[in-house]
């Protein structure tokens, strides 16, 4: 029953992950930023400042609701209470987009607050597709599914991540959220070619792009181990990969994510401006 019409769509322009400390700066002068993304779980209280700020922001900006706690990749059934909370938020806000992750975070009554990996098998595919059907049914709209950052692989995996995502989208009708930093992080960690990943990715299904920073470490064998930290600027190779993706697939709503050691607004606005400079030539 996908009959709810979103109020707005996300513009083909930069957005940022919203942080409460930037509220005044954004309301005063958003600069190149044309839309905002919120983490759904931060707006599930009953009232107070978070919801009041969100009401103000939603009057001025298209909002993307990004879930970080639904555990779509979980082996257990989806948490019905949490799905109901999401539906409540989406019904109230009528956001331009709803997205979640190809990952799991809850199992056997424990929510682990991280986006944990899953094997790419036929069994997992069928489970994830069922969960996405449930989410889209509950919210009355299609969702976007985001490619994860991964640090390890499952020996049991039967297919590539791009193939897995493509098949999920085909079965469920969901769109995809392409996180370019996650592509760079995962491909480096898995010894794959990020450009090859983008070539294999169904770009026509991408409804949103994410860009963020990562940390660099090494594993015990001296191999590079990149950590998706969202605590720094986007690195140059990720910008290059982003620009190539935009040229190949066209302009997309593009989000700067900065979740830890959050900088002052001008730093974030400068990152958004860098995305704008890549998007604008494609649009004109």
């Amino acid at each position: 029953m996908l009959d709810a019409t979103p109020r707005q769509t996300l513009p083909l322009a930069p957005g940022v992950g919203y942080k409460p400390q930037h509220f005044n700066a954004i309301m005063e002068d958003p600069g190149p930023v044309r839309w905002l993304e919120i983490h759904a779980e931060n707006y599930m209280g009953q009232g107070g400042r978070p919801l009041a700020q969100l009401r103000h922001l939603a009057e001025r900006f298209p909002i993307s609701v990004h879930g970080v706690g639904l555990s779509i990749g979980g082996e257990a059934p989806l948490d019905a209470d949490h799905l109901a909370r999401l539906r409540h938020l989406v019904d109230w806000l009528n956001p331009a987009s709803f997205s979640e992750h190809l990952a799991w975070s809850s199992h056997e009554t424990a929510f682990l607050n991280d986006l944990l990996p899953l094997p790419y098998t036929a069994e997992a595919l069928s489970r994830v597709a069922d969960h996405i059907d449930q989410v889209q049914e509950a919210l009355g709209r299609p969702m976007l599914l985001e490619n994860p950052s991964t640090y390890l692989a499952f020996a049991e995996s039967e297919m590539a991540e791009t193939e897995f995502l493509r098949e999920i989208a085909r079965r469920t009708g969901c769109g995809l959220l392409l996180d370019i930093n996650n592509v760079f992080v995962s491909c480096t960690n898995q010894k794959l070619d990020p450009r090859g990943y983008i070539v294999d990715f169904p770009l026509d299904l991408v409804g949103e792009i994410h860009l963020g920073g990562h940390d660099e470490q090494e594993d015990e064998h001296g191999a590079p181990l990149l950590i998706d930290s969202h605590g720094t600027e986007v690195v140059d190779p990720v910008w290059t990969l982003y620009a190539e993706t935009i040229v190949a697939g066209g302009a997309r709503p593009s989000l700067i994510e900065w979740d830890t050691d959050v900088p002052d607004w001008p730093v974030l606005a400068a990152e958004a401006d860098r995305a704008a400079r890549i998007l604008t030539p494609v649009l004109s």
């Binding site: 209280g45 107070g48 948490d79 056997e108 424990a110 682990l112 607050n113 991280d114 640090y151 064998h221």
Partner: protein, 249 residues
């Protein structure tokens, strides 16, 4: 070798467990340090969430000790829901049984106070009554009146001077003096504020919050303390925007 999420979860929360075989690096070798990234993400992100939620506990213990405490707590009581903004309900009870902090008897109540502040922050909005309506009531009518109180109101009773301890650590307030205090949390607009109440003040507000009449609440408080002065508690309710309706008999 297949790895299920039960094995994965157990190994995440228990650093003494082996990394589940079947989790590998690109060369097919055991995942080793790569699995530790997930272990670290889980413990650090949840410990940070606790640190933000319990800043005075963190200050009282110091960052190092708090991080040790948080590691123990996260492994014993991982969150049951994705609503991290309300994680930590079990911390006061955990502190009561955590041997290294047994000597700091006030810690569990400070944790209860910090929980109350956070719940107040996220509680539903409610418009307060015009305080003139209280003054218009005759004393007899007032005694028969029941108060509806704001969802953001919280009471935390303690045998310790928890408001003074909180202020000393969070706001450089004066040195706390020993004695029982109840913390009244109100939220005039978006930021919760604290008022210290006597035990009788607690009795008075707890009765009001349970829907007893003003007169019945006053009687309870006066039984506890014949010299009970209701002015501070009532003033805190009014200035805290905590009275949302008056129901006269």
């Amino acid at each position: 070798m297949n790895v299920d999420q039960t094995q994965f979860r157990k190994a995440i929360l228990d650093p003494g467990r082996d990394v589940p075989p079947g989790l590998v690096d690109p060369e097919g070798r055991p995942a080793g340090k790569r699995f530790d990234v997930y272990r670290n993400n889980v413990i650090v992100s949840l410990s940070n969430a606790l640190g933000e939620a319990f800043p005075v506990i963190r200050k009282l213990l110091g960052d190092n000790n708090f991080s040790i405490l948080a590691g123990h707590f996260v492994r014993a009581h991982p969150p049951a829901s994705p609503l991290i903004a309300t994680y930590g309900d079990a911390l006061p009870g955990f502190l009561e049984g955590f041997e290294p902090v047994r000597s700091l008897g006030y810690l569990p109540d400070i944790a209860r106070l910090e929980l109350a502040l956070r719940k107040s922050y996220h509680a539903a909005d409610a418009a307060p009554i015009d305080s003139a309506r209280l003054q218009e009531l005759s004393p007899d009518r007032l005694m028969e009146t029941r108060f509806a109180l704001a969802p953001a109101l919280r009471l935390v009773r303690s045998d310790w001077p928890i408001v003074a301890i909180w202020r000393f650590n969070a706001e450089d307030g004066p040195k706390p003096e020993m004695g029982p205090e109840t913390a009244l949390v109100t939220r005039p607009e978006f930021d919760p504020i604290l008022t210290a109440l006597s035990p009788a003040g607690h009795g008075f507000l707890a009765e009001l919050a349970q829907g007893r009449t003003f007169g019945a609440a006053l009687e309870t408080a006066t039984e506890q303390d014949p010299d009970f002065d209701l002015t501070p508690a009532l003033a805190a309710l009014v200035s805290g925007g905590a009275i949302t309706a008056l129901h006269e008999e």
